[in-house]
């Protein structure tokens, strides 16, 4: 039994599966204590994260292969899902969907063959479509869910086609390097699916609609864990053939995504949609990071820059979306004069926005610096300049938000959603996201530690 289904390799996934079962059972109880589901969700995610941290790299052909990068990314997925687990309303269906999605990501991380990759990809996407369509604003949530579904499924199908072409060239489903036009075409198609998941321009059109219609915390989960899974998929593909056409085209995609994301966000009036485009711009940095990583031979330690970027982005993005949920604001006009009403929350928002903008001493600054550093190391000076321009333009609208919150006088009545009392969970999540993103830039040793971990000390 153990030879085919290695328990210790899939420990985190099993924990999540147990979570799904527990959630559904808890759901069936009539008078269950308040917060039970939330406790189940958080404990299952923490268990999965700890198990992933504890397990050692090992290979279980043909389906699984656990390496340092895979395990670290699994921790990332669980951490990314935590805020959603805390902020979700007391309903067992979304909790189960969340576990399903994180389980799929775990599979993707532990994949040893294309089959598991595809399985993980689909398993993480399907619950996501449903999570998006369960948004509070019924009308838009349905529409966004459908758009996300059709775009996602098309990408899945493209991935399949790519898989078969690659299979034709490499004669086996294992993640082994292969050469020849068929392999290149296969990689390109699979790369397109990965780029779709990350939200690279021009495959990004679904992303703003999905993030805008979904609940803010779900959008937070999508922007952090889902994007990290997309980045991991891209890294796995780039790892197969570091000098392949896909790897060489990545910096160009990165630059395009950075700049388009930044410029498109400038005119947005709805806050969630603005954050969606900003996440596209950050995705551009990640793609550029992966491109630079691949150009330098895809070594383990090299992935520290991308990994740190994902960690920093996890705190920033989850924090920003958690703020939107806590404050109940939806458009920039409502944000005017918010600092007078809620000075403490506005301070946290300012810290998060400055971090997203990449202003020292925030985590976002160090993240952008590491990516630009990697780009300069592999000689892509043009891309570095584009990165600087994108950072500048994105800072433009982050500052505009801070200006609205702090400098503008309050215009009219605050929206009804903003008047309710903030629950302690919301405040906890906000603090847990804002503090690290405001100060992590000051401690470069964190990035150093990660490099050590990733290169498998």
């Amino acid at each position: 039994m153990s030879s085919f289904l290695p328990i210790e390799a899939l420990a985190p996934q099993l924990a999540l599966a147990a979570g799904v079962v527990a959630a559904l059972l808890a759901g069936m109880l009539k008078e269950r204590p308040r917060g039970l589901l939330r406790a189940v969700a958080v404990s299952a995610l923490l268990a999965a994260a700890l198990l992933a941290g504890a397990s050692l790299p090992s290979a279980h052909p043909p389906l699984l292969r656990l390496d340092r990068i895979g395990l670290c990314w699994q921790e990332l997925f669980c951490l990314g899902a935590l805020p959603l687990a805390v902020l979700m309303e007391e309903d067992e269906i979304p909790v189960a969907l969340l576990f399903g999605s994180v389980l799929g990501m775990g599979l993707l991380a532990a994949a040893g063959s294309f089959l598991t990759l595809f399985l993980g990809l689909e398993l993480m996407s399907l619950p996501a479509y449903l999570l998006v369509s369960r948004g509070r604003r019924e009308e838009e949530a349905r529409e966004a869910g459908l758009k996300y579904f059709f775009a996602g499924s098309t990408a899945g199908a493209l991935f399949l086609l790519g898989m078969t072409l690659y299979y034709a060239a490499s004669r086996s489903l294992a993640l082994a390097p292969a050469s020849g036009p068929l392999a290149q075409a296969g990689l390109a198609l699979m790369g397109a699916a990965a780029l779709f998941k990350i939200g690279a321009v021009p495959l990004h059109f679904w992303l703003p609609d999905a993030y805008e219609a979904a609940d803010p915390e779900v959008a937070g989960f999508l922007s952090t864990s889902m994007k990290a899974a997309g980045v991991l998929l891209l890294m796995r593909l780039a790892e197969l053939a570091p000098s392949s056409a896909l790897a060489r085209v990545l910096p160009a995609f990165g630059v395009m995504t950075m700049l388009a994301g930044a410029f498109l966000a400038l005119r947005q009036q709805r806050l969630q949609r603005l954050l969606a485009y900003s996440s596209i711009s950050h995705a551009g940095f990640m793609i550029l990071g992966v491109g630079a990583w691949a150009a330098q031979g895809a070594t383990g330690a090299g992935a520290a820059a991308v990994y740190y970027y994902l960690i920093a982005y996890l705190f920033m993005s989850n924090g920003a979306f958690a703020f939107l949920k806590t404050s109940g604001l939806s458009t920039r006009a409502q944000l005017r004069g918010y600092a007078q009403r809620e000075p403490r929350l506005a301070a946290l928002l300012a810290a998060l926005l400055l971090s997203l903008g990449g202003v020292p001493p925030t985590a976002g600054f160090l993240a952008k610096l590491l990516i630009l550093w990697e780009t300069v190391r592999c000689g892509l000076y043009g891309a570095a300049l584009a990165g600087a321009l994108a950072a500048l333009v994105s800072l433009g609208y982050y500052l505009a938000l801070i200006r609205d919150a702090y400098f503008e006088p309050a215009a009219g009545q605050p929206p009804p959603a903003a008047l309710r009392r903030h629950s302690s969970g919301e405040r906890l999540v906000l603090l847990a996201c804002a503090i690290p993103s405001a100060l992590l830039g000051f401690f470069p040793w964190l990035a150093g530690g990660l490099a050590g971990v990733l290169s498998g000390l």
Binding site: A185, L189, A192, L246, R248, L266, R267, G396
Partner: protein, 626 residues
């Protein structure tokens, strides 16, 4: 005689001369001004006395025993090998100047006590006045160009404060700013000369500079030539030579003691002092002395003619000062710096006397300055002022045995020796000077012409008002007799001695002066209404003369040009073009681009998938091609 440790005894009075005014100023500003503003002048008068005493002591020791020293006192700016330091230099030239400044300054301080008695800015006036006194002393005693520049600028500052003393008057404010700016334009040259000298010689102390000049160890001769010309430009700015002279007549807006001390006796002579002090540098530069002579002569004649046509008493004296500064520059141009300094001293006495007399006349009328229409026949009601004015006038015209005769004829002698246009100018200047001063004398003190009000309500000023004037006019009479002493004093500081006066020169000079007196007599007393009639007959000529033959509009045009240039640059270009388009143009462009992008995201599912297909196709194409 030196104190042990090689420090000459003379250093003590020299330091006292500088410290006394400083202490008086500090005491006056911090204690008396808040507590008893009406008493501010007491410590200042005391310091004037101390300075006068020390000055006399220094002059006598330098004259009798030929003592002198050049000692660095303290470091100022140090940067490794490069350094600039404060120091004191007492020699023939500086002690003569110090004596003249101390005596004339002291007397005018006394005179100002009464003149400014009931002015509400009494303490402010005396503090600024004494600051000028201090800076003039410092200027005279400094031993390097940079230190000289420090006091040079301080005189500029005090002239700004004093001309603008009655700052509620718009004309006074404008005159003050004009004076300061013109001096600054002159100082532009001085600043550059300093930089050049520092670059070439590494040090601006006169001692080391002139020693290496004499030894011919000059690294960069063209630079030294340029420095010489720039120093001349600075002197033009401060000593009101053409074209930078126009600020001096307007400087009459200030109170009379200011005009008397600063804009007649001492401050404006700083430029001449600078040229004489740097004579070893200037003398060696080919063509520069000739230029100085030309500019000096032209200024003398130009200002002399204008002085002859003015109506306001103080304006006439102002143009006369410009003219006499031109004469001094003319003397320097004739390679006779000693004559220039000698004339500077004699001019200091008789011009101060003239100004104080004019001040007394105006004071009697209760106005800041009197006009020829308001005076006439004053010899009956103000005999003492008439006496002093006459003595000073004779001295100015250069009539024997007055002081002016000795200094002006020394210059005339040099001019005749040089021959050619210089001789002609020398004579002409003598005649013109005599003409305008006697015209003023006759019109003011003799038979009131029908157009004048007459001597009705004029009265002699109090004791403080007349005693200093008397002293000054006696000085104007007697100073000339010391010319031998002068030449020995100046020869001690490396300046060539005064030439001996030949009888031919005296005859010619006196003839020229008498011609001027006769012309003034005819025009002022012979035809009493002439002075007023020609103005009615030729108003255009009158206006042209009033604008200094076109110089004033030219200056106004330059100022307007600079202001317009600033406007174009500051508002037009910087704010409306560069900032609005090139800097603040980027955000709207980015917003526009963002707007364009938004149109693409139309919201239709098919469009999304269409774009997806396009991207995939591009990727596939890239993969197969690369």
């Amino acid at each position: 005689m030196a104190i042990p440790g090689g420090v000459p005894l003379l250093l003590l009075p020299a330091l006292a001369v500088l410290l006394a005014p400083v202490l008086a100023l500090l005491f006056g500003f911090f204690i008396l001004r808040p507590a008893a503003p009406r008493r501010t002048h007491l410590p200042i008068l005391l310091s004037c006395a101390v300075v006068a005493a020390c000055a006399v002591l220094i002059v006598s020791r330098v004259y009798l025993f030929g003592e002198g020293f050049d000692i660095p006192v303290a470091h100022w700016m140090v940067a490794g090998a490069w350094s600039v330091s404060f120091g004191l230099r007492v020699d023939g030239l500086s002690s003569v100047m110090l004596a003249m400044v101390a005596v004339v300054g002291g007397l005018i301080h006394l005179w100002a006590c009464e003149y400014m008695a009931h002015d509400e800015g009494f303490s402010r006036f005396f503090l600024a006045f004494h600051l000028f006194f201090l800076s003039m002393i410092g200027l005279v005693l400094s031993n390097s160009y940079v230190e000289l520049y420090l006091f040079w600028e301080l005189t500029g500052l005090s002239s700004y404060l004093l001309i603008g003393h009655w700052y509620h008057k718009a004309s006074a404010r404008r005159a003050a700013f004009q004076a300061f700016m013109t001096n600054r334009i002159g100082d532009l040259g001085f600043f550059l000369a300093l930089l050049i000298l520092l670059r070439v010689f590494g040090d601006t102390r006169f001692l080391t500079l002139f020693r290496s000049l004499k030894a011919g160890a000059v690294g960069d001769p063209e630079a030294v030539t340029l420095a010489g010309w720039l120093l001349f430009w600075a002197a033009c700015g401060k000593s009101a030579q053409f074209p930078l002279y126009f600020w001096l007549p307007d400087a009459m807006e200030g109170p009379t003691p200011v005009s008397a001390l600063m804009h007649a006796a001492t401050m404006v002579t700083a430029g001449i002092f600078l040229l004489v002090r740097s004579w070893p540098l200037i003398g060696g530069i080919p063509g520069l002395p000739a230029a100085i002579a030309a500019v000096g002569a032209f200024t003398a004649l130009f200002a002399g003619v204008l002085a002859g046509t003015r109506r306001d008493l103080k304006r006439i004296l102002a143009y006369s000062t410009v003219s006499h500064l031109g004469i001094m520059a003319f003397a320097i141009g004739l390679s006779q710096p000693a004559c220039a300094i000698f004339h500077l001293v004699t001019h200091g006495f008789f011009k101060a006397a003239l100004f104080l007399c004019a001040g007394n006349i105006a004071h009697a009328l209760g106005q800041p300055s009197a006009d020829l229409d308001q005076v006439g026949g004053l010899r009956k009601t103000m005999p003492l002022t008439f006496l002093c004015f006459a003595l000073a006038a004779f001295s100015l015209a250069g009539i024997w045995p007055f002081a002016g005769f000795y200094s002006k004829d020394a210059i005339l002698d040099a001019a005749l020796a040089a021959g050619g246009w210089r001789a002609l100018c020398g004579l002409l200047i003598g005649a013109v000077s005599a003409f305008y001063i006697f015209r003023m004398l006759f019109l003011t003190f003799f038979g009131p012409s029908p157009r004048q009000k007459g001597p009705a309500h004029f009265h002699e000023p109090g004791a403080l008002g007349t005693v200093p004037v008397l002293f000054l006019s006696l000085g104007a009479l007697s100073v000339g007799w010391l010319h031998n002493g002068f030449s020995t004093m100046l020869s001690r500081s490396g300046v060539p001695a005064l030439p001996e006066l030949s009888s031919r020169v005296t005859l010619l000079g006196s003839a020229a002066a008498l011609a001027g007196v006769l012309l003034a007599y005819v025009l002022a007393l012979g035809l009493p209404k002439w002075d007023w009639e020609w103005r009615e007959r030729r108003p255009r000529l009158e206006r042209w003369l009033a604008q200094d033959l076109g110089v004033k509009p030219a200056v106004a045009a330059c100022a307007a040009f600079v202001r317009r240039l600033a406007g174009i640059l500051g508002q037009g270009w910087d704010k409306n073009i560069w900032d609005r388009w090139f800097i603040e143009g980027w955000p709207p462009a980015a917003l526009g681009l963002g707007e364009l992008g938004q149109e693409l995201a139309g919201g239709g599912l098919n469009d999304y998938l269409w774009w997806m297909a396009v991207a995939v196709a591009a990727l596939l194409y890239g993969a197969l091609r690369l």
